[in-house]
Amino acid sequence: MTLSIQAATQENTSFSKQFAGLQLAVDSTSLGEFKTCPRKYFYSIVLGLQPKETSVHLTFGLLMHGSVERYHHSRAQGLGHEDAVLGAVHWMLKETWNKVLARPSLQGDTYKNRLTLLRTLVWYFDQYGAEDSLETIVLANGKPAVELSFSFDSGYRSQLTGELVLFCGYFDRLASLNGEIYIPDLKTTKSELSPYFWAQFNPNNQFGMYTLAGNVVYQQKVAGLIVDGAQVLVNSSRFARHLIVMGPERIAEWHRDAIWNVRLMEGCAEQAYWPMNDKSCSMYGGCPFQSICSRSPNSREPWLEAEFKKRTWDPLQRRGDI
């Protein structure tokens, strides 16, 4: 595994080929990592490293998300609720089945395992499936607004190369409720769905990007986001829905702040130095790179090679199309 900036970003289409380490297509994940800690951004996005052991919380969230995405895709193609649920559940069961050992994977965690995933998914569809008042909208091109990739001019050109910086990303769908358009999202948690839980989404980096994108790319006046919270317990799952509204002034402010951070990202690339933010190390359950940063700078590289694997994060590799 090579840890040079140039080699790490060579195949990554979101990075400049004129200036090593300069990201030109920025999604909310990249921006979020940079805001959390420039050094974390350097390791995870620029070098493209991730822990060899994947977090069960991340896996669970991705599987839940992927299943719901398949459900909405099937519904948009005209399938009925029951068939769409079955398709989503089948996909999830396949994703969590170890063919070699002929037994389920995603076992071992008391809260987040194959059973709690299946139960949360089925109950979620019971609550927000057939009778959901949130309806997927149809875009101007006649296609249902599901699996939407976006990229648009951020309004900023690199001072180093003159290249345009894009904002890009992906969201599952656009939906309407009472005549207003929203971007729905789903978050799973072990925590109670309390005001404290909802507070983390307003303000929120990812949702700021989504709301801006909804307004710019799809030319739809997006009122905000609808977040479905799924609380996963050992013997039960609970759900709640929360509305997050971002007015035009807040969207403009988010955009201004995002550009500010893009300039800082550019400054780091220019210096080939991404400083540590040691106030973030223990946030969000602990940074995976904490064990690296706590070592002497001269001894980090062998540890990175031993404990992390390569995973190129390229937000321009679109997952869907419109």
């Binding site: 559940v89 069961l93 194959r114 059973l115």
Partner: protein, 65 residues
């Protein structure tokens, strides 16, 4: 938890231990039975029994090879 929810939970517990295609086939069988006899009170019990049979190897087929 309601009785119905408990039954569904127990059923899901069984399904979560099954191979994907078998689990989905089981659901389709249960749905077909429900459609044919909407008043079958022991539907879930039947489904559980069937799932247990599959698990015990009665219908395991390739999974047991």
């Amino acid at each position: 938890m309601s009785e119905e929810k408990e039954r569904v939970s127990a059923y899901l517990d069984t399904v979560s231990r099954l191979e994907p295609d078998i689990a989905i086939s089981l659901k389709r069988i249960a749905d077909a039975l429900e459609e044919r006899n909407k008043n079958t009170p022991d539907l879930w019990a039947f489904a559980d029994k069937l799932a247990a049979s599959i698990e015990s190897g009665m219908f395991y087929g390739s999974q047991k090879k």
